[in-house]
């Protein structure tokens, strides 16, 4: 996290303050400019709502929007957990058996390279809506976990592998005491990507399902508000989605930091 330090010569405290203050200042500036443009230009809300109107919509529609947020977050979280378990599980399986890896890996790649927007409508035909949405979140999110974990499991220090062999470690011990701990930074990197992607997967599926009308997640609200020309609510829902994404990213960053802070180069603050 400390790569900024070498760029400019500032004291660590000032550096930390600036890190927080500068983005906030940029945000305030942007919002003020937006408000100004809307007011001075007299732009009607159905073309571009002012930030203030978006905020008051957020408050007035809070019951509806928070219910939708909960739906989307639940789907995202479930998709993410499935992706984490599925990605790590598949990677471990591939690592243990070449035959399984050769048989299945190409299909994991195919699943990944086929755009999810194109798969979603099909899934909606064959699966119940909730399952389809979940499947979408899973499909987009599991591959980075799989790919990163595979890389991590294969990146173990060869001398350590030899050492385990020398001391007669079982396959199980090699996996749990050597490979998985060594792969931790990679797994956490994969999870960080998967968090954002599972939100995208959930949103894509909700939008695809939108016309079917049964959904109630945030993305569905955006589509629905679009049909009704309720632009302020579109913006409010979009804001919530973006906040959800930020929240997920932060939660995973904190998790990663907590797990790696004692030993991994990426998480330690160098004392020079």
């Amino acid at each position: 996290m400390g790569e900024g330090r070498a760029k400019d010569e500032i004291s660590p405290v000032a550096d930390r303050v600036l890190r927080v203050l500068l983005p906030i200042a940029m945000l305030a500036l942007g919002v003020a400019l937006w408000e100004l443009v809307v007011r001075v230009g007299g732009i009607p809300p159905y073309v571009l709502p002012s930030p203030w109107l978006v905020f008051s919509t957020l408050v007035s529609d809070r019951a509806l929007l928070s219910a939708s947020l909960l739906v989307t977050l639940t789907t995202t979280l479930q998709g993410f957990l499935l992706a984490a378990v599925g990605g790590v599980g598949l990677a471990v399986l591939f690592n243990q058996s070449r035959l399984i890896e050769y048989s299945l890996y190409p299909y994991a790649v195919i699943l990944q390279v086929t755009p999810i927007v194109a798969i979603a409508p099909l899934l909606l035909i064959y699966l119940p809506q909730q399952a389809a949405v979940l499947a979408c979140a899973w499909i987009v999110a599991f591959f980075p976990v799989l790919a990163n974990t595979t890389l991590g499991l294969n990146s173990v220090d060869h001398n350590l592998v030899d050492l385990f062999r020398l001391y007669g470690a079982t396959r199980r011990q090699v996996l749990f005491d050597l490979k998985l701990p060594a792969a931790q930074p990679y797994i956490l990197g994969g999870l960080k990507i998967a968090g954002g992607l599972s939100l995208i997967g959930a949103v894509v599926a909700e939008i695809a399902a939108g016309s079917a009308g049964a959904g109630s997640g945030l993305a569905y609200r955006i589509v629905e508000s679009g049909y009704r020309l309720n632009i302020p609510r579109m913006f409010a829902a979009l804001l919530l989605l973006s906040l959800a994404g930020i929240l997920i990213f932060f939660a995973l960053s904190v998790l990663s930091h907590l797990m790696l802070r004692r030993w991994h180069e990426s998480a330690i603050v160098r004392e020079v």
Partner: protein, 276 residues
């Protein structure tokens, strides 16, 4: 002017049977590097033998082949006493790699405990880990992580890990190369003490003439790559050895002879004129 003699009474100074013998071992890698060629080496039960040779001559490779971590491309490794303690399953080999080879995600104590954990010996593990750490002077760093240690401290942790289990063959690959003289001397003495009291068989790789003379009963000098045995010298000074030996005229004499042999071996004069 050094005369390069190559009077090799291979293994003749020893009685009994070797524990393990390399017979005409050759090792070439996929990139066409021939690391070892026709290497013959006997390791006798309970002895302290050093492999001495120029950098890149295949010392680490030879050690890995003895440990069974690497397969020779030619020749074979014979476990002569293939029953009892040295049977394929029961063989307890301790290995100190040239690099510390610690698990970065585990504390020093957890790293040292590893061999016990893998062997399922959890019962008296804490006491043994403490003892091993104390032996290498790392008692205060049990809960530190490897990245918080200096290079030499990491190496000492790695040595502690090799000492924590009962081994009957200890293979050490330049374990003290990164240490300061004081620590190195202390660990030299500790290792000798351990060897004398426990009767382990030790194969010790080093590039230090002085260290090899101080520690070993026998020094095997290897030629530069492709590595093979250039000559063997036995160091007949009695054990236990201590600082008096280090400052004795005998020691200086041995060091000079070993240095000369090493110089000849390194010069690539494998089939050098014997001066006659």
């Amino acid at each position: 002017m050094i005369r390069c003699d190559r009077n090799v009474p291979v293994g003749s100074s020893k009685s009994g049977t070797p524990v393990v013998a390399l017979r005409g071992v050759g090792k070439s890698f996929a990139n066409d590097v021939v690391a070892l060629e026709r290497l013959d080496l006997d390791v006798w039960s309970g002895e302290f033998v050093s492999l001495l040779g120029p950098s890149g001559c295949g010392k680490s490779t030879a050690l890995r082949i003895i440990a069974g971590l690497s397969e020779p491309t030619r020749g074979k490794v014979e476990w002569v006493e293939a029953q009892g303690a040295y049977a394929a399953g029961a063989r307890r080999i301790g290995f100190v790699f040239q690099e510390p080879t610690l698990m970065p995600w585990a504390t020093v104590a957890a790293n040292v405990r590893l061999p016990l954990k893998l062997a399922g010996l959890a019962a008296d593990a804490p006491a043994r880990v403490d003892a091993a750490l104390a032996r290498v002077g790392l008692s205060g760093f049990a809960q530190s992580y490897p990245r918080e240690l200096s290079g030499g401290m990491k190496m000492r942790a790695s040595i502690a890990r090799a000492l924590v289990t009962e081994t009957n063959l200890l293979l050490m690959d330049e374990p003290f190369a990164a240490l300061d003289e004081i620590t190195r001397f202390r660990l030299n003495n500790d290792l000798l003490g351990l060897w004398e009291s426990l009767g382990k068989t030790v194969v010790f790789v080093t590039h230090s003439v002085f260290e090899s003379v101080y520690l070993s009963q026998r020094i095997v000098v290897m030629t530069r790559r492709p590595g093979r045995v250039f000559t063997e010298l036995s160091i007949d000074a009695p054990h236990p050895r201590d600082e008096r030996f280090r400052t004795s005229a005998d020691y200086a004499g041995y060091c000079r002879r070993v240095s000369e042999a090493l110089a000849c071996a390194s010069a690539g004069t494998d089939e050098a004129p014997t001066g006659s």
